[in-house]
């Protein structure tokens, strides 16, 4: 389960003026549920995801993973917690260009202490499941956007983390590839994970268990549209 309690985050504009992007945000995403956060550009959706995934510190409030107040951990413990408990899917894929598709997936295992044949086997299995096994030795620039995102998804779930955070995961994909990724996220939630997705896509909302809208740093629950919940 993922829980955020009274998260506060303020940025400074170039003029020096404070911009509060998270204003006492509360959020609970139980295991087995997929939450979608909607909102206009610049409303703080990505900041919320970063804070939830410990990629960025909040100015106030707590982040709790699986009952542990991870926002209070030190740097090393946070890194280990990230490696162990969370997977990220980014809009721009963020694959390392110097590594092959397979090595990009295995990178997640390296920092979680999962290396060796077992990790390679699981990585290949994931690549096969997402139809990119034959591309395992290709480098990211040799892959299409859809293929890159599928590889990135494999990397995110290699360690089978209980939490999955996706920031506009379909933003750079066509409809067919976007659908593949959203279904994978949905399947992840059905498999027991807690999944948070920031997305503009209507079909993402259709797959959501919970929908939230961010506005002026506040997060409000919205009714799940008909046809939702997968």
């Amino acid at each position: 389960m993922l829980e955020a309690r009274r998260l506060v985050k303020t940025y400074r504009a170039p003029s020096g003026a404070p911009i509060r992007v998270l204003d006492s945000v509360d959020l609970v995403v139980p295991a087995g549920r997929l939450a979608v956060v909607l909102g206009p550009s610049g409303c703080g959706k990505s900041t919320l995801l970063n804070v939830l995934g410990l990629l960025e510190d909040a100015d106030g409030g707590d982040v709790v993973w699986e009952g542990e107040r991870v926002s209070a951990l030190g740097r090393v413990a946070r890194s280990r917690a990230r490696a162990r408990s969370v997977g990220f899917v980014f809009q721009s894929f963020l694959l390392l260009p110097s590594l092959t598709a397979l090595d990009n997936v295995l990178l997640a295992g390296r920092y979680a202490g999962r290396t060796g044949p077992e990790a390679r086997h699981r990585a290949r299995e994931l690549l096969a499941r997402f139809g990119v096994l034959e591309r395992q030795d290709h480098y990211p620039p040799q892959l299409s956007g859809g293929e890159q995102q599928r590889v990135a998804f494999c990397r995110a779930v290699l360690n089978d983390p209980p939490l999955l955070l996706a920031d506009e995961p379909t933003g750079n994909l066509d409809d067919a590839n976007g659908r593949v990724i959203l279904e994978a996220l949905r399947a992840r939630a059905r498999g027991g994970g807690a999944v948070v997705v920031v997305s503009h896509r209507a079909d993402a909302v259709e797959m959501a268990d919970d929908v939230y809208r961010m506005h002026l740093g506040r997060l409000d629950a919205e009714p799940v549209p008909a046809g939702g919940q997968g």
Binding site: L55, D57, R82, F88, F90, L96, L99, Y111
Partner: protein, 397 residues
Amino acid sequence: MVAVLLRTLRGYAFTIAGIAIGVAGIVALGAMAERIVRFIEGGDRFVLGQISVAGRGMGMGTGFTAGGLLPSSAIRAIAEVPGVASVQSQVMLPLNPSTSQFMTLTQELVMGLDLAVPMPNRHYREFPVRDGRFLRAGDRRMAVVGASFAASHGLRVGGKLTLEGEPYEIVGVLERMLTAPDRFVIVPIEDARAQWIAKDPLLRTALASGGVALQASDLNTGAAVGWRDGEEADAVARRIAERVSSVNVQIPSELSGLLRSSTAFFSALLVGIGVLALVIGGLSLANTVAAAVFERIRDFGVKRALGATDLQLGREVLGEALAVTLTGGALGVGVALLLGAAVDGWAARTGQQLFLFSGRLLGGTLAFSVLLGVAAAGYATLRVVRLSPAEAIRRGA
């Protein structure tokens, strides 16, 4: 493992090229400096290995001592001074008398040695011979030539050299010593004396007149004096000056000081070259490595997002920096060696060698490069890990 390393290095191709250029610059400039250092050190080593004596006067000596004729009576007197182990008569003449004697260390000289006496110089008991053999007592009309002299005159063992109209057989070529003897023609002293007379009309006239009490053995431009074990060279030199009249004695330490002061300009130039090479090459290298790390800031952000700790990331960056600087450094050394070989190949036609790629230079440059590369990478890494993963990803986007 090797494949991963090669793949990593391929990603750093431009960085490696940048480092290679910087290192090649350091090595090439350093090799030129080494060449000059070896020349100065060789001269210093030579003058500290013997006491050089000439007759009192000026104008006759052309070698390491300026002075007048050193007759055989003076040589015998020197040999009797306490502390003296041996005295070797010498004749040093410019190969081309029309050339100024000012640049004695770089001009071509004929050196006549009394081969009946072993070389008294403690640092040069014998000249290192590359091809053929050195001169022996009893040789006549035979010559051993320095490496630069042989190259510039196209001489080899068995070849002929004409000196003052007389043919000489080349019996040996010295190893390249990167100092004055590289331009020497060494002959038996009797032959050198004959050349001296042939070169000097005034001396010829004086000898022919019979008005001067001179024998062939009196025709010496100087002598190399060796001292006994346990003796102090400067003390023996001062003793010779006190006890033997009409001689100019060079005190070894003073001559060394003189040599060093006369080469002070070169020494200052060397320091300048060295500092410039290190600053320019070092800055280029450090900047290249740091830029390479900063360029990958997004990758480091991603790795931290995936759970890399600061230590893991630091280890990876430093490992890569080490591999990259070592590869770039080795490439740079290779480029400098190729460049040096090409330039020296061209310069060899005139008997010159511009570069000296010593082990200490190559090893030192590589160590310097690696240390600087790792330090630059370490600094850049510290800057990168201070950022949150999200900030690193944002900045690298």
